[in-house]
Structure formats: structure tokens, C-alpha cells
Symmetry: D2
Subunit: 139 residues, 4 copies
Amino acid sequence: MGMMTQMMSATGMDAEQMELMEACIEACAACEQACVMCSDADLGDGMMRCSSMCSTCADVCNAMMRMMMRPTGWDMDAMTAMLRATIAMCTACAAECGMHADMHEHCAMCAQACRDCIAACENLLAAMPAMAGSTAASM
Amino acid sequence: MGMMTQMMSATGMDAEQMELMEACIEACAACEQACVMCSDADLGDGMMRCSSMCSTCADVCNAMMRMMMRPTGWDMDAMTAMLRATIAMCTACAAECGMHADMHEHCAMCAQACRDCIAACENLLAAMPAMAGSTAASM
Amino acid sequence: MGMMTQMMSATGMDAEQMELMEACIEACAACEQACVMCSDADLGDGMMRCSSMCSTCADVCNAMMRMMMRPTGWDMDAMTAMLRATIAMCTACAAECGMHADMHEHCAMCAQACRDCIAACENLLAAMPAMAGSTAASM
Amino acid sequence: MGMMTQMMSATGMDAEQMELMEACIEACAACEQACVMCSDADLGDGMMRCSSMCSTCADVCNAMMRMMMRPTGWDMDAMTAMLRATIAMCTACAAECGMHADMHEHCAMCAQACRDCIAACENLLAAMPAMAGSTAASM
């Protein structure tokens, strides 16, 4: 993440904002991985809605992660909307996985990864108005 | 798209809603392709912000397309939020590409693909409340 | 595809090579879409191995498609290896989907999309040595 | 990675094979992230071929990572071919990034991530014949 810190500092973000975004990138990456594995494990466990949701949640988290990692093209409105979409998808996925968490370890772990991702996205979203002010030139 | 029609009819969507979603899937696929090509062509033309935005727009459109193609796990809130995120990203990308449309054919084509995608997403979004009613069971 | 033709002509490819690559891009895009839909439909039909393979085949085809669409960074060895990987994955997926083609329309369509993609990749692979010669500078 | 260990043990892999695959998954994830960031940073540094290659390398590494994370649909030929494609793409990307490593920290870090990914893929590839023997049923 050293590279990311360096790149983000060039955008005018302060230390706290950078920490929140790094945490969000990590949470999206972890959620993508948990969702891909859970989606595949669900197949053997007969949970079709869970498997389908996990596949889409993985794709949304990957797109969110990549957006944050490309500061050259950051757009505030798009990032805000994408953070909300990631929160909505992770919320749906956490609810579905949560229903099978007692029976399947992979669902318990995936639901937790989704909840962690929601928290990280919400924290970043809360810091966004401040970001908009400090990085007007590059956003 | 015959397969998609068959799958969507199982969700309780009516003919008009299916048409709007198929159009949106096609527009997202076309926009992903235009953005990947434009992002690469921008490199030679020195347009860094445009190239970065196109890369992210391609990822967002791909995630949006795949979400629509997985009816088993559809969630109304997530789809609404993701349609809004796609519209926001395509709007930012169309504005940036639009500034170079006179000089670069790839930017003109990419900006048009973004605008087509925005229109398709907005049309589907407008039909979503009706979808929510008719497909309550599977959404 | 007009944009693609324009971009490829800048790499020194001849008309026949361009046609083969455009066909391959289209086949990869179609195969990704068929695989995403088939993977999701498999969930309801209890075909776990088919669903898992289709998900991976969709990801491989998307990566292959994007590689072809970024001529600025083309590398001959990487493209050759990636065409072989796409052929291998589509071959495995076509075999699995083909076993259920009689029962499930989505599997029949997906198996056909995989076979079309294999053919398009093989055609391009056969034309690659000639490409290497004519586009040495940019490859 | 606890989830992954659990899933892989169900495929008949031994402890050493599981370690190699987990290392490969981690290396692919790290390489995707380094490549996305490097590709974006290259834009400001005028390195078009490097940026294009990094974008494709990120996509190939993501597809490789996801293939490994979906044991339900593993196919030995496809995995072997995809490991080779990832090695070829990372080799090309490491060579290109390596040329700018002295001037740009992001290129030095990306080249290292590519080399780590190559090593992890080669280690797994070397263990594949043994995997084929022990997991014949599920592969």
C-alpha cells in the first residue's frame, strides 16, 4: 500500500482520508475474494440465490476497488454513487449469507467480509465532502 | 439474447421491461468495449484523465451488465443503486471524452457509447418500480 | 467496431488479420455473456460444476477480449499464451455444458458460444506468426 | 485464507499444494493491485506502453485468481494454460516496468509484484502433475 499512499498524497488528500481510502480498498479486495469463494462453495450446498448474489457482489467490489486505485480520473459524483452501490450490494449479500452463517462457515466469513466492506465504504463516504474541498483540482 | 429473454421471463418481468433490460445489457457491453479501446488510444494522445476515467467506466459497465445477467440473485435496492452509479460514471466519462471529440474519433465514439448507456440505464430505472411490484417473489 | 479497425491498422496488421481479431473480440464478448447467463441459470438446475466453469470461462474471455482491445501494449508471447488459455478454458466449458445441452437450452447456447470462441481463437492463433512479422515494431 | 484452505482440502490437495496455491492467489491479487495503480500513475509519466500492459496484466491476474478460487469447476488443462498465460503476461509487464524502475517508484513496485507472481505461478505449475494425481475425481 506504500504506492497507493504516495499516489493519493498527490491528490491533496490528508492523512486521515488516505487511511480511510486504503482501508476501503483492502475491504473491497477482501470482500471480492470472500464472495468468489462463497459463490463457488454455495454450489455444493444448494444455495442458488446466495451464489448468484456473491458473484455480483464480487464484481461490484472489484470495480469499486479499481475506481479508488485510479486517482487520475477520480470524479466525486461517480465515486459517491459507486460507494452507495457497493454498500447496497454488500448489504443484500450480507443479509442472504447471514441466513446460512450457522450452517456454512464460508457464508459466515463472506457475510462478515460484506459487513466490513459496508463499514469501510460508509466511513469513506462520510469523509467525502471534506475530500471534495481539499482535492477540487484533481476531482 | 434469446437466452436472456427466457431467463428474464421466469422472473415475472413483462415484455416491455425485458426489452428495456436487454437494451441496457447491450448498451453496457458496448460502452465497456468503447471505453477499453478509448482508454488505450488516449495513451498515444496524451489524455491522462480521459484514459483513467475510461478504464473505470469499463469496469463499472461490466459489473452492471453482469448484475443484470444474473436474475437468480437480483436485489432491487442494489440494482437501483448500481444503475445510478453507472449513470454517474458514464456522465463523467462522456463529459471528459466529449471535450476531445472533435480531435479524436475514439473519444467521439466513446462519448456516444456513454450517452447511449446513460439513456438505457435511465429507461430501465424508470421502469424499476413496476418491476418491483411484478417480481416481488424473485427480487 | 469501426474504432477497433482504425486502431489496429496503426499496428501494421493487414486486412485479413484485422478481420480475424475483430471476430475473436466479438466471440469472446459473446462467450462471456453466454457464460454469465448459463452460470446463473445452472444454479436453479443443480449443475454445480457447470456453473463454476462458466463463471471462470466468462472471466477468462473478458480478459482475452480486453487484451486484444489494447494494441498499445501488445506482447506476442502473452497474446499467444492467453489465446491458448482461452481455448483450453472454453474447451473444458463446452464439454461440460455439452453434457446438458439436450436438457437445458442455456447450456446448448453456452456450449455453442464456447465452440465459436475456440474457433475464433484458433483462427487468430494461426495468423499470429504473420502478425509477428508485420508488426514487429509495436509488438 | 482460512476459507480457501477448507475448500481446497475438499479437493484432495495435500498441505504443500495448498500452500503453493494460496501463495499464488495472494501473488495474483497483489499483482492486480500493483498493475492497476501503476497503469494509472504511468499516465502522468507519459509511459503509454507500460500503462497499457499493466491494465491487461491486472485483468489476466484477476482471472487467474478467480479460477483458483473456484475449485468446483477446476480443469487441469485450463489451469495449466492459464498459469502459463499469467507467467507470459507478467514477464512482459515486468520487463517493461523494469525499464522505468529507476525513475518511478510505482514501476519498481509493479515490476517486483509481477516477478513475485511469476515465481508463485511457476511453483504451482511445478506441483500440478502431483495435483492431477491426487485430485483426479474433482479435476
